[in-house]
């Protein structure tokens, strides 16, 4: 039972991430690898605030979301001028910057969270408190599973409201023909900026969920593996509709490694096999079903 709850919590977290990627990849047509960076950044901000200042879940996650939204400006400005392969490369740069900073802002002689040793490097941050809302601490796995499922459903509802609105319609229009949208007087830069900010904010929140569930975070949640995982989630599940594609993506990419767990393989081989399966899925889907399993936008 505990194991099923653990899976449910993971699914909730990755569903929120997948929803966030859908806004950028599915509705503005910009492929990004930077989301692992924003995801990890959100989790670090939450961890540091709750560890150093002892703030509760709601205020610290709000700060985490706010800071992530601010940093999303790096990606927005790139989206004004770059597109296609160049935008992907730029987003990769952002991911690398996040990862490098989290990994290297470290000095063993100084206390964790000080200016000299903000992230504690590879050792990560441990002892992050469980979510506590209005004095109630969600410390059992069952409670967290219920809370996180509510978050995931809430985010899905939010995502639906956003993408079914005139704003979502505008995003799809500029994705399909940016010049045409501009010639109708649409401020496409603002719209892209809003989309990227919303999306990064959601990714930051997913990071908050991860940190408060695991009680421990390390730079690996910003590394290339994670970036590839998120990217695959969007491609495999499919994007361009507000909820279904992201859900299928999260479900499949959580299910694969867990499925491999039941095949009796040494850990090192299983890890490699997982990457191979991701790669194979990407290749097969791009060839046979470019819009993903449940998506409605075909990425080019």
């Amino acid at each position: 039972m505990n194991y099923v709850l653990h899976l449910l919590v993971l699914l909730d977290i990755y569903f929120v991430l997948s929803l966030s990627l859908n806004i950028v990849m599915g509705y503005t047509g910009l492929l990004t690898l930077a989301h692992a960076g924003y995801f990890a950044f959100g989790s670090y901000v939450y961890a540091l605030i709750s560890l150093l200042l002892g703030w509760e879940f709601i205020p610290s996650s709000l700060i985490a979301i706010l800071l992530t939204v601010l940093l999303s400006g790096m990606l927005s400005i790139a989206s004004w001028r770059l597109r296609g392969d160049f935008f992907i490369l730029f987003s990769l740069t952002i991911q690398v910057v996040f990862f490098t900073v989290l990994k290297n802002w470290h000095d063993p002689t100084q206390p964790v969270g000080s200016w000299g040793n903000m992230t504690n490097g590879d050792f990560g941050l441990a002892g992050i408190p469980s979510p506590s809302i209005l004095g109630h601490e969600f410390d059992s796995r069952t409670e967290i599973a219920i809370l996180f499922t509510a978050f995931a459903v809430g985010t899905a509802g939010l995502s639906y409201m956003l993408l079914a609105s005139p704003w979502g319609r505008l995003l799809r229009a500029l994705r399909d023909d940016e010049l045409s949208a501009r010639s109708l007087g649409k401020n496409v830069r603002l719209a892209k900026m809003q989309a990227i900010a919303t999306s990064c904010g959601m990714a930051g929140f997913a990071g908050v969920m991860l940190a408060s569930y695991q009680a421990f975070i390390s730079p690996t949640s910003a590394d290339m593996n994670e970036a590839t995982l998120l990217f695959s989630m969007a491609i495999v599940g499919g994007v361009g509709n507000s909820v279904l594609g992201p859900f299928v993506g999260a479900l499949l990419l959580i299910a694969i490694p867990e499925g491999l767990r039941f095949v009796d393989l040494p850990f090192s081989i299983a890890a490699e096999l997982r990457l191979m399966v991701y790669g194979l899925m990407l290749v097969l889907l791009m060839h046979w079903r470019p819009q993903g399993v449940a998506g409605s936008y075909r990425m080019e």
Binding site: L162, G185, T198
Partner: protein, 510 residues
């Protein structure tokens, strides 16, 4: 549709430009061009190929900054109105609210349509129209969550407006159709409806009649008349020679771009000009091969295209050559080859040419000549239908197998490897002995040759083994100078045992 508005009924000045200059490399496309545009005016903008029509359109709609000059857009009650002086000092571009951009020009009430239409393909026609409405407060993520009831109310109003507009433009009942599923004529009308909804008072139309059949032309023309009469929109229309007489029926002024300047002429002056070669005339070259005009067989194709062919060797005339049956090729979801009718059903392209014949396919711009060629060559997939060469279906073959069957194609552009030496380009095409026409170029890189010289090399490669094959050439004479055209023509005629099809723009458009 008599000349609708005389000088007397023209309104105030809406747009003017002075000293516009635009240079690409060393060539002046616009050189001290100037004009003034009054409300209700309908301008026909014409000029030779490459004279700068599109450049002017791009500049006036904010898509291109001219090298120098002044553009003034007059103020109206609806707002807008500003003047731009070029070149703009670099520091003005630092201000994100002070760019010379399409969205800014659009807010001043200047709008455009494209030759290739550019509707939003995944939206319905209704959404295409609603999207055009200026809606800065409703189209944001915050409004989407916190002002839901206001948005719902606004949307209901907008939907009614859009539906009313679509009905007025003859598109009732198609509101929810996806924009990539409607016919070409319908999408052109939606594109115009969209600009009306965007609040256009000056509208630039890039070939609004191109590739339309006569009913489509009629619909768009009556729509344009309505726009001027009811909406007091000022129109500037770019159109090819072929359709110019139709535009002259509603035009009040003609602008001709000549040597980088805009020459303003009256409609009567232009009407009295000797008309160019009429659309029904037969290319003189084909006529001379045929001997008499009876020997030329004409086949009409949908979309204003036709095939003229002559039998070079009568002994082959009963043998199948190139047969195309119900061919449909799509880009996205819109058929490019093959037409969708008003009910959304697609019919394909069909024709056949016997062996030993030489055919010329004349089609208006935008008809899909390049798509047709690429589909035949196997570069892009064929949606449905059948293509047979010498009675052998090729549509399921890989492109190299099609070549083995006897197909040879020559694209109009990018038809030769630019980084090779001429002799290497020839040997890749399995030509051991370079033909006379390209011998002077041996030892040079293809990229060092002029456009016409390159075309001669490309043609040499394509035609060396042409005899007995099904050869399809896309605008082969395009870049050639007058002297080498007959040379190439005589080479083409030598393919008496195969079948040759030449794709050309409709006669009066070239």
């Amino acid at each position: 549709m008599a000349p609708s508005a005389g000088e007397a009924t023209l309104g105030p000045l809406v747009m003017a430009a002075k000293g516009l200059q635009q240079r690409f490399g060393n060539q002046f496309v616009l050189n001290d061009a100037e004009f003034s545009l009054r409300q209700g005016e309908v301008v026909l903008l014409r000029g030779e190929n490459g004279s700068g029509k599109t450049t002017l359109l791009n500049i006036l709609t904010g898509n291109l900054e001219p090298d120098s000059g002044r553009i003034m857009i007059a103020e109206t009650t609806a707002g807008g109105g500003e003047a731009f002086v070029f070149p703009r000092p670099w520091w003005r571009d630092l201000n994100p609210f002070d760019h010379f951009s399409p969205e800014r020009i659009a807010k001043d009430g200047v709008s455009r349509t494209w030759q290739d239409i550019r509707l939003f393909p995944t939206h319905s026609l209704r959404d295409n129209v609603i999207l055009a409405r200026h809606n800065p407060h409703g189209e944001g993520p915050v409004a989407a969550i916190f002002r839901r009831s206001t948005i719902r109310r606004d949307e209901a109003v907008r939907r009614r407006e859009a539906d009313a507009l679509l009905t007025r433009f003859g598109l009732a009942g198609r509101e929810t159709s996806s924009a990539d599923m409607v016919s070409l004529g319908q999408s052109k009308r939606v594109a115009i409806a969209r600009t009306v909804q965007a609040g256009a008072r000056i509208l630039f139309l890039d070939e609004p009649l191109a590739a339309l059949d006569s009913k489509g032309i009629h619909d768009v023309m009556s729509l344009l008349t309505t726009l001027v009469a009811d909406h007091r929109v000022t129109l500037v229309i770019v159109e090819h020679v072929f359709n110019i007489p139709k535009i002259l029926d509603i035009a009040t002024t003609v602008w001709t771009i000549r040597d980088g300047k805009i020459v303003t002429e009256s409609v009567e002056e232009v009407r009295s000009e000797p008309s160019p070669e009429s659309a029904d005339s037969i290319p003189p070259w084909l006529a001379s091969i045929a001997g008499s005009s009876d020997a030329i067989i004409e086949t009409h194709l949908p979309g204003g295209a036709r095939i003229l062919h002559v039998q070079l060797d009568p002994s082959y005339s009963r043998m199948p050559g190139l047969d195309v049956k119900n061919l449909i090729v799509t880009r996205g979801r819109r058929p490019v080859i093959g037409r969708t009718n008003e009910a959304g059903k697609a019919t394909g392209l069909s024709f056949s040419l016997p062996r030993g014949s030489l055919g010329v396919l004349e089609a208006p711009n935008g008809w899909g000549k390049t798509t047709f060629l690429e589909a035949l060559a196997g570069v892009i997939p064929i949606q449905s239908g059948e293509v047979r060469i010498y009675d052998k279906p090729i549509q399921n073959l890989k492109s190299w197998d099609r070549v083995k069957t006897g197909l040879a194609v020559l694209q109009s552009r990018d038809n030769i490897f630019p980084n090779l030496l001429v002799e290497d380009a020839l040997s890749i095409a399995n030509i051991a002995e370079p033909p006379e026409s390209v011998r002077p170029f041996i030892g040079r890189h293809v990229s060092d040759l002029s456009g016409g010289q390159r075309q001669r090399v490309a043609l040499a490669c394509a035609l060396a083994h042409a005899r007995g094959t099904a050869t399809i050439l896309d605008e082969p004479f395009g870049m050639l100078d007058v002297a080498s055209i007959p040379q190439v023509q005589s080479q083409i005629v030598q393919n008496t045992s195969g079948v040759t099809l030449i794709l050309m723009p409709a006669a009066s458009q070239s």
